[in-house]
Protein backbone atom coordinates (compact mmCIF):
# COMPACT_ATOMS: atom_id res chain seq x y z
CA UNK A 1 0.00 0.00 0.00
CA UNK A 2 1.25 3.45 -0.92
CA UNK A 3 0.35 6.65 0.73
CA UNK A 4 1.62 10.21 0.70
CA UNK A 5 2.46 12.01 3.89
CA UNK A 6 3.41 15.66 4.03
CA UNK A 7 5.77 16.49 6.89
CA UNK A 8 7.59 19.59 7.99
CA UNK A 9 11.25 20.10 7.28
CA UNK A 10 12.12 20.00 10.96
CA UNK A 11 10.62 16.57 11.35
CA UNK A 12 12.39 15.21 8.32
CA UNK A 13 15.71 16.82 9.12
CA UNK A 14 15.67 15.20 12.53
CA UNK A 15 16.29 11.86 10.83
CA UNK A 16 13.49 10.17 12.74
CA UNK A 17 11.64 9.37 9.53
CA UNK A 18 14.55 7.21 8.44
CA UNK A 19 13.99 5.13 11.57
CA UNK A 20 10.23 5.02 11.57
CA UNK A 21 9.40 4.39 7.93
CA UNK A 22 11.37 1.16 7.39
CA UNK A 23 9.89 -0.25 10.59
CA UNK A 24 6.45 0.78 9.43
CA UNK A 25 6.88 -1.00 6.12
CA UNK A 26 8.15 -4.05 7.89
CA UNK A 27 5.17 -4.18 10.25
CA UNK A 28 2.34 -3.15 8.00
CA UNK A 29 3.55 -3.24 4.42
CA UNK A 30 2.69 0.44 4.03
CA UNK A 31 5.06 2.40 1.78
CA UNK A 32 5.00 6.05 2.80
CA UNK A 33 6.06 8.68 0.33
CA UNK A 34 7.27 11.68 2.30
CA UNK A 35 6.76 15.19 1.04
CA UNK A 36 9.00 17.49 2.95
CA UNK A 37 7.56 21.00 2.82
CA UNK A 38 6.80 24.03 4.96
CA UNK A 39 3.92 23.82 7.45
CA UNK A 40 1.75 26.14 5.37
CA UNK A 41 2.37 24.19 2.21
CA UNK A 42 1.73 20.90 4.00
CA UNK A 43 -1.66 22.15 5.08
CA UNK A 44 -2.43 23.31 1.55
CA UNK A 45 -1.46 19.92 0.13
CA UNK A 46 -3.85 18.37 2.59
CA UNK A 47 -6.65 20.75 1.70
CA UNK A 48 -6.23 19.98 -1.99
CA UNK A 49 -6.25 16.25 -1.32
CA UNK A 50 -2.81 15.81 -2.82
CA UNK A 51 -1.60 13.94 0.26
CA UNK A 52 -3.34 11.44 2.46
CA UNK A 53 -2.14 12.73 5.79
CA UNK A 54 0.08 15.38 7.32
CA UNK A 55 2.40 15.52 10.28
CA UNK A 56 3.06 19.06 11.49
CA UNK A 57 3.61 21.10 14.62
CA UNK A 58 1.48 24.21 14.64
CA UNK A 59 -1.46 23.78 16.92
CA UNK A 60 -3.58 26.75 15.92
CA UNK A 61 -3.26 26.02 12.22
CA UNK A 62 -4.02 22.36 12.80
CA UNK A 63 -7.16 23.14 14.70
CA UNK A 64 -8.30 25.46 11.97
CA UNK A 65 -7.67 22.65 9.51
CA UNK A 66 -9.92 20.31 11.45
CA UNK A 67 -12.46 23.04 11.94
CA UNK A 68 -12.72 23.60 8.21
CA UNK A 69 -13.49 19.95 7.74
CA UNK A 70 -10.33 18.90 5.95
CA UNK A 71 -9.62 16.39 8.66
CA UNK A 72 -11.73 14.58 11.16
CA UNK A 73 -9.36 14.70 14.08
CA UNK A 74 -5.97 15.84 15.18
CA UNK A 75 -3.87 13.17 16.85
CA UNK A 76 -0.96 14.22 18.99
CA UNK A 77 1.94 11.83 18.59
CA UNK A 78 5.04 13.15 20.27
CA UNK A 79 6.93 16.24 21.21
CA UNK A 80 10.41 17.58 21.26
CA UNK A 81 11.65 20.99 22.26
CA UNK A 82 12.87 24.21 20.83
CA UNK A 83 16.27 25.55 21.74
CA UNK A 84 18.01 28.83 21.38
CA UNK A 85 21.22 28.59 19.37
CA UNK A 86 23.79 31.32 19.00
CA UNK A 87 27.43 32.23 18.50
CA UNK A 88 30.05 30.55 20.67
CA UNK A 89 31.08 33.86 22.22
CA UNK A 90 27.48 34.56 23.22
CA UNK A 91 27.89 38.34 22.98
CA UNK A 92 24.43 38.97 24.46
CA UNK A 93 25.15 36.74 27.48
CA UNK A 94 21.83 35.03 26.79
CA UNK A 95 23.31 31.80 28.10
CA UNK A 96 23.14 33.08 31.65
CA UNK A 97 19.40 33.64 31.46
CA UNK A 98 17.13 31.54 33.60
CA UNK A 99 14.13 31.65 31.32
CA UNK A 100 13.57 31.98 27.63
CA UNK A 101 11.99 35.31 28.40
CA UNK A 102 15.21 36.65 29.91
CA UNK A 103 17.25 35.15 27.11
CA UNK A 104 15.18 37.00 24.56
CA UNK A 105 15.48 40.19 26.53
CA UNK A 106 19.24 39.81 26.48
CA UNK A 107 19.25 39.28 22.77
CA UNK A 108 17.07 42.29 22.20
CA UNK A 109 20.03 44.41 23.29
CA UNK A 110 21.14 43.97 19.70
CA UNK A 111 24.76 42.97 20.32
CA UNK A 112 24.35 40.25 17.73
CA UNK A 113 21.69 39.68 15.07
CA UNK A 114 18.77 37.34 15.57
CA UNK A 115 17.68 35.23 12.61
CA UNK A 116 14.01 34.43 12.29
CA UNK A 117 12.52 31.84 9.97
CA UNK A 118 10.05 34.46 8.86
CA UNK A 119 8.07 31.92 6.85
CA UNK A 120 4.95 31.33 8.93
CA UNK A 121 6.16 27.85 9.79
CA UNK A 122 5.41 26.20 13.14
CA UNK A 123 8.79 27.26 14.41
CA UNK A 124 8.28 30.81 13.25
CA UNK A 125 4.88 31.04 14.85
CA UNK A 126 6.27 29.77 18.09
CA UNK A 127 9.09 32.25 17.98
CA UNK A 128 6.70 35.16 17.47
CA UNK A 129 4.63 33.84 20.28
CA UNK A 130 7.67 33.78 22.58
CA UNK A 131 8.56 37.37 21.78
CA UNK A 132 4.99 38.28 22.42
CA UNK A 133 4.86 36.67 25.82
CA UNK A 134 8.13 38.36 26.62
CA UNK A 135 6.38 41.62 25.84
CA UNK A 136 8.45 42.64 22.86
CA UNK A 137 7.89 43.25 19.19
CA UNK A 138 11.29 43.12 17.56
CA UNK A 139 10.11 42.62 13.99
CA UNK A 140 11.26 46.03 12.87
CA UNK A 141 14.51 46.13 14.82
CA UNK A 142 17.67 46.24 12.75
CA UNK A 143 19.21 43.25 14.52
CA UNK A 144 16.15 41.14 13.72
CA UNK A 145 16.58 39.37 10.39
CA UNK A 146 13.54 37.64 8.97
CA UNK A 147 14.97 35.26 6.39
CA UNK A 148 11.90 33.64 4.98
CA UNK A 149 13.42 30.21 4.53
CA UNK A 150 13.38 26.65 5.81
CA UNK A 151 14.98 25.55 9.08
CA UNK A 152 18.21 24.38 7.48
CA UNK A 153 18.59 27.46 5.34
CA UNK A 154 17.88 29.70 8.31
CA UNK A 155 20.49 27.84 10.37
CA UNK A 156 22.96 28.29 7.54
CA UNK A 157 22.17 31.97 7.53
CA UNK A 158 22.65 32.22 11.28
CA UNK A 159 25.96 30.40 10.98
CA UNK A 160 27.03 32.78 8.24
CA UNK A 161 26.09 35.84 10.27
CA UNK A 162 27.03 34.72 13.71
CA UNK A 163 23.45 35.22 14.83
CA UNK A 164 21.04 33.81 17.40
CA UNK A 165 18.21 31.64 16.20
CA UNK A 166 15.37 29.59 17.61
CA UNK A 167 15.34 26.03 16.31
CA UNK A 168 14.05 22.65 17.28
CA UNK A 169 16.46 20.25 18.87
CA UNK A 170 16.12 17.62 16.20
CA UNK A 171 17.05 19.92 13.38
CA UNK A 172 19.97 21.24 15.39
CA UNK A 173 21.42 17.86 16.21
CA UNK A 174 21.19 16.79 12.63
CA UNK A 175 22.55 20.03 11.28
CA UNK A 176 25.94 19.63 9.67
CA UNK A 177 27.13 23.23 9.53
CA UNK A 178 27.42 23.97 13.27
CA UNK A 179 30.60 26.01 12.81
CA UNK A 180 30.69 28.82 15.31
CA UNK A 181 27.30 28.04 16.81
CA UNK A 182 26.25 26.33 20.00
CA UNK A 183 23.18 25.82 22.14
CA UNK A 184 22.73 28.94 24.22
CA UNK A 185 19.52 28.25 26.06
CA UNK A 186 17.26 25.24 26.49
CA UNK A 187 14.85 23.57 28.84
CA UNK A 188 12.13 26.16 29.42
CA UNK A 189 8.64 24.72 29.44
CA UNK A 190 7.57 27.36 26.97
CA UNK A 191 9.77 25.63 24.43
CA UNK A 192 7.69 22.47 24.30
CA UNK A 193 6.95 21.41 20.68
CA UNK A 194 4.02 19.14 19.96
CA UNK A 195 3.75 17.13 16.72
CA UNK A 196 0.35 16.02 15.54
CA UNK A 197 -0.89 13.68 12.83
CA UNK A 198 -3.92 14.61 10.74
CA UNK A 199 -5.61 12.26 8.26
CA UNK A 200 -7.12 14.02 5.31
CA UNK A 201 -10.84 13.56 5.38
CA UNK A 202 -12.21 11.31 2.59
CA UNK A 203 -15.44 13.28 2.70
CA UNK A 204 -13.95 15.96 0.50
CA UNK A 205 -11.60 13.83 -1.52
CA UNK A 206 -12.81 10.36 -2.16
CA UNK A 207 -9.53 9.21 -3.65
CA UNK A 208 -7.51 9.65 -0.47
CA UNK A 209 -6.15 6.48 1.05
CA UNK A 210 -8.20 6.84 4.20
CA UNK A 211 -7.72 3.22 5.22
CA UNK A 212 -4.00 3.33 4.84
CA UNK A 213 -3.81 6.65 6.61
CA UNK A 214 -5.79 5.18 9.46
CA UNK A 215 -3.50 2.18 9.64
CA UNK A 216 -0.52 4.52 9.73
CA UNK A 217 -2.11 6.40 12.59
CA UNK A 218 -2.71 3.18 14.43
CA UNK A 219 0.89 2.21 13.95
CA UNK A 220 2.19 5.63 14.99
CA UNK A 221 0.52 5.28 18.36
CA UNK A 222 1.57 1.65 18.76
CA UNK A 223 4.12 0.35 21.23
CA UNK A 224 6.57 -0.31 18.47
CA UNK A 225 6.47 3.33 17.38
CA UNK A 226 6.64 4.54 20.94
CA UNK A 227 9.72 2.48 21.49
CA UNK A 228 11.40 3.74 18.36
CA UNK A 229 10.53 7.38 19.03
CA UNK A 230 11.64 7.34 22.62
CA UNK A 231 14.73 5.39 21.72
CA UNK A 232 15.92 7.71 18.98
CA UNK A 233 19.11 9.46 20.04
CA UNK A 234 21.75 11.53 18.43
CA UNK A 235 25.05 12.09 20.22
CA UNK A 236 23.52 10.48 23.25
CA UNK A 237 20.66 12.98 23.38
CA UNK A 238 17.07 11.90 23.28
CA UNK A 239 15.20 13.85 20.63
CA UNK A 240 11.53 13.06 20.86
CA UNK A 241 9.15 12.03 23.56
CA UNK A 242 6.19 9.88 22.64
CA UNK A 243 3.00 11.27 24.16
CA UNK A 244 0.11 9.95 22.13
CA UNK A 245 -3.07 9.36 24.03
CA UNK A 246 -4.11 5.80 23.36
Amino acid sequence: DDMKLAVTTSFHNSGLSDILLPALTEDTGIEVQLLVVGTGQALRLGEAGDVDAILVHSRAAEEAFVEAGYSTARREIMYNDFILVGPLADPAQAGQATSIRDALWAISGGTAPFVSRGDDSGTHKRELNLWDTAGMNPVNADWYRATGSGMGAALNTAAGMGAYILTDRASWLNFGNKDGLMVIFEGDEALFNQYAYLKVSPELHDHVQAMTAARLEAWLVSDRAAELIDGYEIDGQKLFTFNAVR
Binding site: K4, Q33, L35, A48, G150, G152, A153, N174, G176, N177
Partner: protein
Protein backbone atom coordinates in the same frame (compact mmCIF):
# COMPACT_ATOMS: atom_id res chain seq x y z
CA UNK B 1 37.13 26.02 1.97
CA UNK B 2 37.68 22.69 3.64
CA UNK B 3 34.06 21.96 2.79
CA UNK B 4 34.91 22.12 -0.85
CA UNK B 5 37.63 19.53 -0.44
CA UNK B 6 35.32 17.39 1.58
CA UNK B 7 32.80 17.81 -1.19
CA UNK B 8 35.31 16.52 -3.70
CA UNK B 9 36.11 13.65 -1.40
CA UNK B 10 32.41 12.89 -0.95
CA UNK B 11 31.90 12.96 -4.70
CA UNK B 12 34.80 10.62 -5.25
CA UNK B 13 33.57 8.32 -2.54
CA UNK B 14 30.04 8.27 -3.91
CA UNK B 15 31.35 7.35 -7.31
CA UNK B 16 33.85 4.77 -6.18
CA UNK B 17 31.46 3.04 -3.86
CA UNK B 18 28.97 2.97 -6.72
CA UNK B 19 26.29 4.09 -4.33
CA UNK B 20 22.98 2.56 -5.39
CA UNK B 21 20.89 5.55 -4.31
CA UNK B 22 23.15 7.91 -6.17
CA UNK B 23 22.91 5.74 -9.22
CA UNK B 24 19.14 5.77 -9.04
CA UNK B 25 18.69 9.50 -8.62
CA UNK B 26 21.29 10.23 -11.26
CA UNK B 27 19.48 8.05 -13.75
CA UNK B 28 16.21 9.68 -12.81
CA UNK B 29 17.72 13.12 -13.31
CA UNK B 30 18.93 12.09 -16.72
CA UNK B 31 15.69 10.45 -17.72
CA UNK B 32 13.51 13.36 -16.67
CA UNK B 33 15.80 15.93 -18.24
CA UNK B 34 16.31 14.12 -21.52
CA UNK B 35 12.61 13.42 -21.89
CA UNK B 36 11.80 17.06 -21.22
CA UNK B 37 14.55 18.16 -23.59
CA UNK B 38 13.26 15.96 -26.37
CA UNK B 39 9.70 17.19 -26.01
CA UNK B 40 10.80 20.80 -25.71
CA UNK B 41 12.99 20.54 -28.81
CA UNK B 42 10.16 19.05 -30.82
CA UNK B 43 7.97 22.00 -29.84
CA UNK B 44 10.51 24.80 -29.70
CA UNK B 45 12.66 24.25 -32.74
CA UNK B 46 9.91 24.33 -35.35
CA UNK B 47 8.42 27.25 -33.44
CA UNK B 48 11.72 29.14 -33.55
CA UNK B 49 12.01 28.38 -37.26
CA UNK B 50 8.47 29.56 -37.90
CA UNK B 51 9.18 32.82 -36.15
CA UNK B 52 12.06 33.34 -38.53
CA UNK B 53 9.98 32.46 -41.56
CA UNK B 54 6.65 34.08 -40.94
CA UNK B 55 6.26 37.80 -40.76
CA UNK B 56 2.85 38.09 -39.15
CA UNK B 57 1.69 41.13 -37.28
CA UNK B 58 2.26 39.88 -33.76
CA UNK B 59 5.65 38.43 -34.59
CA UNK B 60 7.70 40.96 -32.75
CA UNK B 61 5.46 40.64 -29.76
CA UNK B 62 5.69 36.84 -29.77
CA UNK B 63 9.46 37.05 -29.94
CA UNK B 64 9.61 39.50 -27.06
CA UNK B 65 7.23 37.27 -25.16
CA UNK B 66 9.36 34.19 -25.76
CA UNK B 67 12.39 36.10 -24.64
CA UNK B 68 10.57 37.14 -21.50
CA UNK B 69 9.35 33.65 -20.86
CA UNK B 70 13.01 32.62 -20.72
CA UNK B 71 12.76 34.38 -17.38
CA UNK B 72 9.78 32.41 -16.15
CA UNK B 73 10.55 31.87 -12.49
CA UNK B 74 10.68 28.09 -12.02
CA UNK B 75 8.85 28.27 -8.73
CA UNK B 76 5.92 29.94 -10.44
CA UNK B 77 5.93 27.33 -13.17
CA UNK B 78 6.03 24.67 -10.52
CA UNK B 79 3.15 26.28 -8.74
CA UNK B 80 0.99 26.57 -11.82
CA UNK B 81 1.70 23.00 -12.85
CA UNK B 82 0.94 21.97 -9.29
CA UNK B 83 -2.39 23.75 -9.34
CA UNK B 84 -3.25 22.15 -12.66
CA UNK B 85 -2.32 18.64 -11.61
CA UNK B 86 -3.52 18.86 -8.06
CA UNK B 87 -6.46 16.71 -7.10
CA UNK B 88 -8.59 19.79 -6.88
CA UNK B 89 -7.21 21.06 -10.17
CA UNK B 90 -8.56 20.47 -13.69
CA UNK B 91 -6.21 17.57 -14.46
CA UNK B 92 -6.30 16.04 -11.01
CA UNK B 93 -7.92 12.86 -12.23
CA UNK B 94 -4.82 12.00 -14.25
CA UNK B 95 -3.07 11.46 -10.94
CA UNK B 96 0.19 12.88 -12.23
CA UNK B 97 1.20 14.99 -9.26
CA UNK B 98 4.40 13.92 -7.54
CA UNK B 99 5.43 11.71 -10.43
CA UNK B 100 8.36 12.10 -12.84
CA UNK B 101 5.81 12.96 -15.53
CA UNK B 102 4.83 16.07 -13.62
CA UNK B 103 8.49 17.01 -13.41
CA UNK B 104 8.86 16.55 -17.14
CA UNK B 105 5.87 18.82 -17.76
CA UNK B 106 7.34 21.57 -15.61
CA UNK B 107 10.74 21.26 -17.27
CA UNK B 108 9.22 21.42 -20.72
CA UNK B 109 7.45 24.65 -19.84
CA UNK B 110 10.64 26.11 -18.47
CA UNK B 111 13.01 25.26 -21.29
CA UNK B 112 10.77 25.58 -24.33
CA UNK B 113 10.98 29.39 -24.50
CA UNK B 114 14.75 29.25 -24.05
CA UNK B 115 15.22 26.75 -26.84
CA UNK B 116 12.81 28.56 -29.14
CA UNK B 117 14.57 31.88 -28.59
CA UNK B 118 18.01 30.52 -29.30
CA UNK B 119 16.70 28.60 -32.29
CA UNK B 120 15.13 31.74 -33.63
CA UNK B 121 18.35 33.64 -33.29
CA UNK B 122 20.45 30.84 -34.75
CA UNK B 123 18.28 30.38 -37.82
CA UNK B 124 17.98 34.03 -38.71
CA UNK B 125 21.31 34.12 -40.48
CA UNK B 126 20.64 30.88 -42.28
CA UNK B 127 17.31 32.13 -43.45
CA UNK B 128 18.75 35.36 -44.76
CA UNK B 129 21.17 33.19 -46.73
CA UNK B 130 18.54 30.77 -48.01
CA UNK B 131 15.65 33.19 -48.32
CA UNK B 132 15.89 33.89 -52.03
CA UNK B 133 16.49 30.29 -53.01
CA UNK B 134 13.72 28.78 -50.95
CA UNK B 135 11.20 31.36 -52.07
CA UNK B 136 12.30 30.91 -55.66
CA UNK B 137 11.92 27.14 -55.39
CA UNK B 138 8.34 27.69 -54.30
CA UNK B 139 8.74 25.71 -51.10
CA UNK B 140 5.89 25.21 -48.67
CA UNK B 141 6.27 26.58 -45.19
CA UNK B 142 6.69 23.06 -43.92
CA UNK B 143 9.52 22.39 -46.34
CA UNK B 144 11.19 25.63 -45.30
CA UNK B 145 11.06 24.72 -41.63
CA UNK B 146 12.52 21.32 -42.40
CA UNK B 147 15.30 22.71 -44.53
CA UNK B 148 16.29 25.34 -41.98
CA UNK B 149 16.27 22.89 -39.12
CA UNK B 150 18.24 20.32 -41.06
CA UNK B 151 20.87 22.60 -42.55
CA UNK B 152 21.15 24.53 -39.30
CA UNK B 153 21.34 21.48 -37.09
CA UNK B 154 24.85 22.21 -35.94
CA UNK B 155 23.95 25.68 -34.78
CA UNK B 156 20.90 24.30 -33.01
CA UNK B 157 23.15 22.29 -30.77
CA UNK B 158 23.72 25.27 -28.51
CA UNK B 159 19.97 25.68 -28.17
CA UNK B 160 19.56 22.07 -27.12
CA UNK B 161 22.51 22.17 -24.78
CA UNK B 162 21.30 25.37 -23.15
CA UNK B 163 17.96 23.68 -22.62
CA UNK B 164 19.64 20.62 -21.22
CA UNK B 165 21.70 22.74 -18.87
CA UNK B 166 18.77 24.69 -17.62
CA UNK B 167 16.72 21.55 -17.08
CA UNK B 168 19.32 19.39 -15.40
CA UNK B 169 20.27 22.11 -12.91
CA UNK B 170 16.75 23.23 -12.15
CA UNK B 171 15.28 22.65 -8.73
CA UNK B 172 12.54 25.15 -7.89
CA UNK B 173 9.81 23.75 -10.10
CA UNK B 174 10.49 20.06 -9.78
CA UNK B 175 10.64 20.42 -6.05
CA UNK B 176 7.08 21.74 -6.05
CA UNK B 177 5.57 19.31 -8.54
CA UNK B 178 7.76 16.30 -7.82
CA UNK B 179 7.87 16.65 -4.07
CA UNK B 180 11.39 15.23 -3.78
CA UNK B 181 9.98 11.89 -2.70
CA UNK B 182 12.62 9.32 -1.93
CA UNK B 183 12.65 6.49 -4.46
CA UNK B 184 10.06 8.18 -6.61
CA UNK B 185 10.83 11.74 -7.58
CA UNK B 186 14.13 12.56 -5.94
CA UNK B 187 16.66 13.76 -8.46
CA UNK B 188 20.15 15.18 -8.09
CA UNK B 189 19.14 18.79 -7.68
CA UNK B 190 16.44 18.14 -5.13
CA UNK B 191 18.81 15.89 -3.24
CA UNK B 192 21.35 18.72 -3.22
CA UNK B 193 18.76 21.14 -1.90
CA UNK B 194 17.87 18.62 0.78
CA UNK B 195 21.46 18.15 1.89
CA UNK B 196 22.03 21.89 1.88
CA UNK B 197 19.03 22.28 4.14
CA UNK B 198 20.52 19.72 6.47
CA UNK B 199 23.72 21.70 6.53
CA UNK B 200 25.58 18.74 5.11
CA UNK B 201 27.59 20.83 2.68
CA UNK B 202 30.10 18.16 1.86
CA UNK B 203 27.37 15.84 0.67
CA UNK B 204 25.60 18.62 -1.18
CA UNK B 205 28.79 19.62 -2.93
CA UNK B 206 29.59 16.00 -3.64
CA UNK B 207 26.24 15.54 -5.35
CA UNK B 208 26.76 18.86 -7.11
CA UNK B 209 30.01 17.65 -8.50
CA UNK B 210 28.42 14.46 -9.69
CA UNK B 211 25.82 16.62 -11.41
CA UNK B 212 28.42 18.84 -13.04
CA UNK B 213 30.39 15.78 -14.05
CA UNK B 214 27.26 14.36 -15.62
CA UNK B 215 26.63 17.56 -17.55
CA UNK B 216 30.23 17.69 -18.75
CA UNK B 217 30.07 14.07 -19.86
CA UNK B 218 26.85 14.55 -21.77
CA UNK B 219 28.24 17.67 -23.42
CA UNK B 220 31.55 16.15 -24.36
CA UNK B 221 29.77 13.12 -25.71
CA UNK B 222 27.48 15.26 -27.83
CA UNK B 223 30.33 17.41 -29.09
CA UNK B 224 32.30 14.35 -29.91
CA UNK B 225 29.40 12.63 -31.63
CA UNK B 226 28.43 15.60 -33.73
CA UNK B 227 31.98 16.74 -34.26
CA UNK B 228 30.81 20.34 -34.24
CA UNK B 229 34.17 21.92 -33.90
CA UNK B 230 35.97 19.65 -36.24
CA UNK B 231 34.10 20.20 -39.38
CA UNK B 232 34.44 23.91 -39.98
CA UNK B 233 31.37 25.68 -41.17
CA UNK B 234 28.70 23.07 -41.15
Amino acid sequence: MSDIWEGLRAAAWLLISFDADLWEITLRSLRVTLTALLIACVIAMPLGALLVLRRFWARRFVIALLNSLMGLPPVVVGLIVYLMLSRSGPFGVLNLLFTPTAMVIAQVIIITPLIASITHQALRELWSEYHDLLISLNTSIFQRVRTLLWDGRRTLLTAALAGFGRAIGEVGAIMVVGGNIDNATRVLTTAIALETGKGDFAMALGLGMVLIGLAVTVNLAIHWLTGTERAGRW
